[in-house]
Symmetry: C2
């Protein structure tokens, strides 16, 4: 299966530490190869294979933030 | 020498991760026993023996923040 990229808007990130927390949690999902996060824009970009929005949302919540619907 | 407590105003802390970074760096200074930090008020409280303002300011900068003069 080809790699695809999805973007999410995440609420609550205020600094680089927050970005790092999100990147760590989301990066632990099987199949995900790259995660970028910006507290300035709230954008989280996820690249990988076979991941679902639900998995990403759960990882973001685990890190202490919320994916905007 | 008796333990004493000093308070500092620190700029730039935006979340709990920031507080943790400051507490970790300042807590590494020899003689310091307790550090509290609040991103809401910017207040950092340091308890210990034989530490200087310069040491605290250097540790805060190491963590990525600034002690307000």
């Amino acid at each position: 299966m080809a790699e695809n990229v999805k973007n999410y808007t995440v609420e609550g990130m205020t600094c680089g530490h927050c970005e790092m927390s999100v990147k760590e949690e989301v990066g632990e999902i099987a199949g995900i190869s790259t995660v970028t996060a910006s507290h300035e824009t709230g954008q989280v970009s996820v690249a990988g294979e076979d991941f679902t929005d639900e998995q990403v949302a759960a990882a973001v919540e685990e890190a202490g933030y919320t994916v905007k619907a």
